[in-house]
């Protein structure tokens, strides 16, 4: 590769990384849907999808084909450009944030870190920022469909996401204070010392922050028990009532992609990212291939567990009411998050 300049190598490898990560994320999205349906089914005393392929494993494929072949309806009174734009915003914002997630240990090929699309020093802020832009997708979809249920759903979603954004952001401040950096790799490294016991969740004393993050994240992704925007018993389907075919599928994928993003962030910030939960107890792998793959395995395992938690919660709890949701966010989560910041900074200051 001597005839390529460094920049060209960087470019080629980056495009390769993006392609691979995108494919993997989209597949993961499809299979998260299957995971949810299977797991929810088992929790609810039924089978879940089991007809398409072995154990229903081809169900996502069948769903995808079905959605592609569906008629794409366009309501007459809708605001056409925005109606089309909304799902694109929702899905692309959900996918972009994966770009800053480091999902493996630092492994360099030709000077390029292979397990991180871009290692930015404000990675956490980028994720928060991009997820906020995703709200536009929801807000615009509700308004442009010219449907009252969709409008109510999108209003609920917008106010909910904006309110919980605050608690979410504040819950992460403690972690950032401990790591002294917004760079996701630094945050992971700050928890890598003694495996499980140096995770922010356990050893780092950020357990309160973790639960605030958990609740805010459920609200942020509009999932049970905060699934008011698409509360099917109240608002039919919420903001995507008027959407059909692939446009609907994009919202659907965006929801699950957001779940994965949130699970990734939780893994990075509270569960030690790609580091091993056993710390130095396990011998350091000698083979470079195992050394590269093992961290990815830990990362995927943690994300998977977090997703299972999501699904478990959905099977267990009822739905909040709109006003209760707001007062919970503003009157409980936000003050607790602020107290957590104060406590964390006091501890850090006293420790010197």
């Amino acid at each position: 590769m001597s005839h390529l300049t460094d920049f060209q190598i960087f470019l080629i490898l980056s495009i390769l990384k993006i392609a691979v990560v995108l494919v993997i994320t989209l597949t993961a999205v499809a299979y998260t849907v299957l995971l949810e349906r299977k797991l929810l089914g088992r929790m609810q005393n039924r089978w879940g999808p089991s007809r398409v392929g072995p154990f229903g494993l081809l169900q996502p494929l069948a769903d995808g084909i079905k959605l592609f072949l569906k008629e794409d309806l366009m309501p007459m009174a809708s605001e056409r450009p925005l109606f089309i734009l909304a799902p694109i915003i929702a899905l692309s914002c959900a996918l972009i944030s994966v770009a800053v997630v480091p999902f493996g240990a630092v492994t360099r090929i030709a000077g390029v870190d292979m397990f991180d699309i871009s290692d930015i020093n404000i990675g956490l802020l980028v994720i928060l920022g991009i997820t906020s832009i995703g709200v536009y997708g929801i807000a615009l979809s509700g308004w442009s469909s010219n449907n009252k249920f969709a409008l109510l759903g999108s209003l609920r979603a917008t106010s909910q996401v904006i309110s919980y954004e605050l608690a979410l952001g504040l819950s992460l401040v403690g972690v950032v204070l401990r790591a002294g950096s917004l760079r996701l790799r630094d945050i992971v490294d700050s928890q890598a010392g003694h495996g499980l016991f140096s995770w922010n969740l356990i050893g780092g004393g950020q357990i309160i922050a973790f639960f605030i993050y958990l609740m805010a994240a459920y609200a942020e992704t509009n999932r049970a028990p905060f699934d008011l925007p698409e509360a099917e018993s109240e608002l039919v389907a919420g903001y995507h009532t008027e959407y059909s075919s692939m446009k609907f599928a994009m919202f659907f994928m965006a929801e699950y992609a957001n779940m994965i993003t949130v699970a990734c962030v939780a893994t990075l910030l509270f569960l030690g990212g790609a580091s091993s939960p056993f710390g130095n107890l396990l011998p350091t792998p000698t083979s470079p291939i195992i050394a590269a793959i093992l961290p990815i395995f830990w990362f995927v395992l943690k994300v998977f567990s977090f997703l299972c938690l999501y699904i478990w919660v959905r099977a267990t709890v009822p739905r909040f009411r709109y006003d209760q949701l707001m007062s919970f966010g503003w009157k409980f989560l936000l003050p607790v998050a602020i107290l957590n910041i104060i406590a964390t900074s006091l501890v850090l200051a006293l420790r010197g």
């Binding site: 929810l40 929790m43 609810q44 005393n45 039924r46 007459m76 009174a77 605001e79 056409r80 010219n146 009252k148 249920f149 109510l152 609920r156 049970a224 028990p225 699934d227 008011l228 509360a231 099917e232 018993s233 109240e234 039919v236 959905r314 099977a315 267990t316 709890v317 009822p318 739905r319 909040f320 009411r321 709109y322 006003d323 209760q324």
Partner: protein, 419 residues
């Protein structure tokens, strides 16, 4: 940017809705008042069938509402007039389709009053047994759908797991899972199969632990409590004035249960408590119905323990279809069978009502006879219709999400409302 389309272009039917809203909402103009009129139903997922609610909402707050019924109108009352008395029984199954045997009982009681029939004790006890199992069946569907409306999906499937066992029992005794037509004029249709009572007993002994399971998912959950407490309040006076009955009335502090106050079908021989509450909110109705399920289990067990021996139909050969065996061996029975099937039986002219405590509340059947073999008029009064009237009182000024909770707590079946 294209101009925003005028309302009539968006929805061709909007004038009707607005006119509706204006008529029901004391002349307020939704557009000028910055409120929004939304149509909840008839295809809305949480209106339990085909109820349409025209809601005028200000943001999320309900300003006024008008239930619009009739989407499930089946004309059963009118159809009854063209049927023989015994042919009406399967029609009554379809009124309140969650407790068909209760409907059968109410109809049979009214006709038996006209005929002045003496019902054997065993038939009466069987009626009590299956009426109470029907109450369990209906309450299980209520709990499941109510919880699902509030977002607890799993409870729904757990409830249907138990309901499935009940439906098997109904199938074993009548041959049908839902439209049982088991309780007939003069008694019940068939002797329960051997071993069924043991199955029922096994189910009943197991069932209280299942109720505990539902409660463990709901009762201590702060979200569930917050969604239910202080929602959908109705005063004792309003409840009485609106003709509300059943658990909704008892939750409003009125101790009224027909099983105890006007016993029918030998309910006076059973010991049971009538749970009453004074909170009159959705939570009270939830607690009350859970208690009722436990009481129903007790009644069923008493019925099983003390089940008398004897005939299951009244001794009235001109009214009750004869035994198959007799029909094939005795000429007189064959003649009776032929006459009943081809021309029915004449019922003395007059009118009679019956009142039964169904799972949803008071169920009345009013039967008028002109002396022929077909009823002149059959009118059903189901609690659902009156209970639905209380919806506006309960929901006014509350949030949209509360409407869903209140509809769930009223436990309406549209089949019983539209008839």
């Amino acid at each position: 940017m294209a101009p925003i389309a005028a309302p009539d272009q968006i929805n061709p039917g909007i004038e009707d809705v607005l006119a509706d809203a204006e008529r029901h909402h004391h002349g307020s103009d939704p557009i000028a008042d910055q409120t929004m009129v939304i149509n909840m139903g008839p295809q809305h997922p949480s209106t339990h069938g085909v109820l349409r609610l025209v809601l005028e909402i200000d943001g999320e707050t309900v300003v006024s509402m008008a239930p619009d019924i009739g989407y499930l109108h089946t004309g059963i009352e009118k159809t009854c007039e063209a049927k023989f008395y015994q042919q009406v029984v399967p029609l009554t199954d379809r009124i309140d389709y969650l407790s068909p045997m209760t409907n059968n009982t109410a109809y049979a009681l009214a006709v038996e009053k006209l005929l002045d029939l003496e019902i054997p004790e065993k038939a009466q006890w069987l009626r009590v047994l299956f009426n109470e199992l029907m109450r369990l069946n209906s309450h299980l569907v209520w709990l499941g759908t109510h919880a699902m409306d509030i977002g607890a999906l799993t409870v729904f499937l757990y409830c249907f797991r138990e309901r499935e066992q009940l439906l098997r029992i109904f199938e074993a005794v009548s041959g049908q899972r839902m439209m049982t037509s088991y309780i007939r004029i003069g008694g019940v249709s068939m002797e329960p199969p051997l071993g069924l009572f043991d199955d029922i007993r096994a189910f009943l002994l197991d069932f209280p632990s299942k109720i505990d399971e539902y409660e463990s998912l709901l009762q201590n959950n702060p979200i569930w409590i917050n969604r239910l407490k202080d929602v959908g309040h109705i005063s004792r006076e309003d409840a009485i004035a609106l003709g509300v009955t059943g658990p909704v009335l008892r939750a409003a502090g009125v101790d009224f249960d027909l099983r105890r106050d006007m016993p029918y079908s030998s309910y006076e021989k059973f010991q049971f408590k009538v749970p009453v509450s004074t909170d009159s909110d959705v939570w009270a109705r939830y607690i009350l119905r859970m208690e009722e399920m436990r009481e129903s289990v007790k009644i069923c067990l008493q019925a099983l323990d003390g089940m008398p021996e004897g005939r299951i139909v009244a001794d009235a050969p001109k009214i009750i279809l004869p035994d198959r065996e007799q029909m094939k061996t005795q000429m007189e029975s064959l003649i009776h069978h032929f006459k009943i099937v081809t021309e029915g039986f004449a019922v003395p002219a007059g009118e009679a009502t019956s009142s039964v405590e169904a799972a949803h509340g008071m169920m009345n059947y009013y039967v008028v006879s002109d002396g022929t073999s077909k009823p002149y008029r059959v009118h059903m009064r189901n609690a659902d219709y009156a209970n639905l009237q209380a919806l506006e009182t309960m929901c006014k000024g509350r949030l949209l999400a509360d409407v869903v909770a209140v509809i769930g707590s009223l436990d309406i079946v549209l089949g019983a409302i539209d008839r």
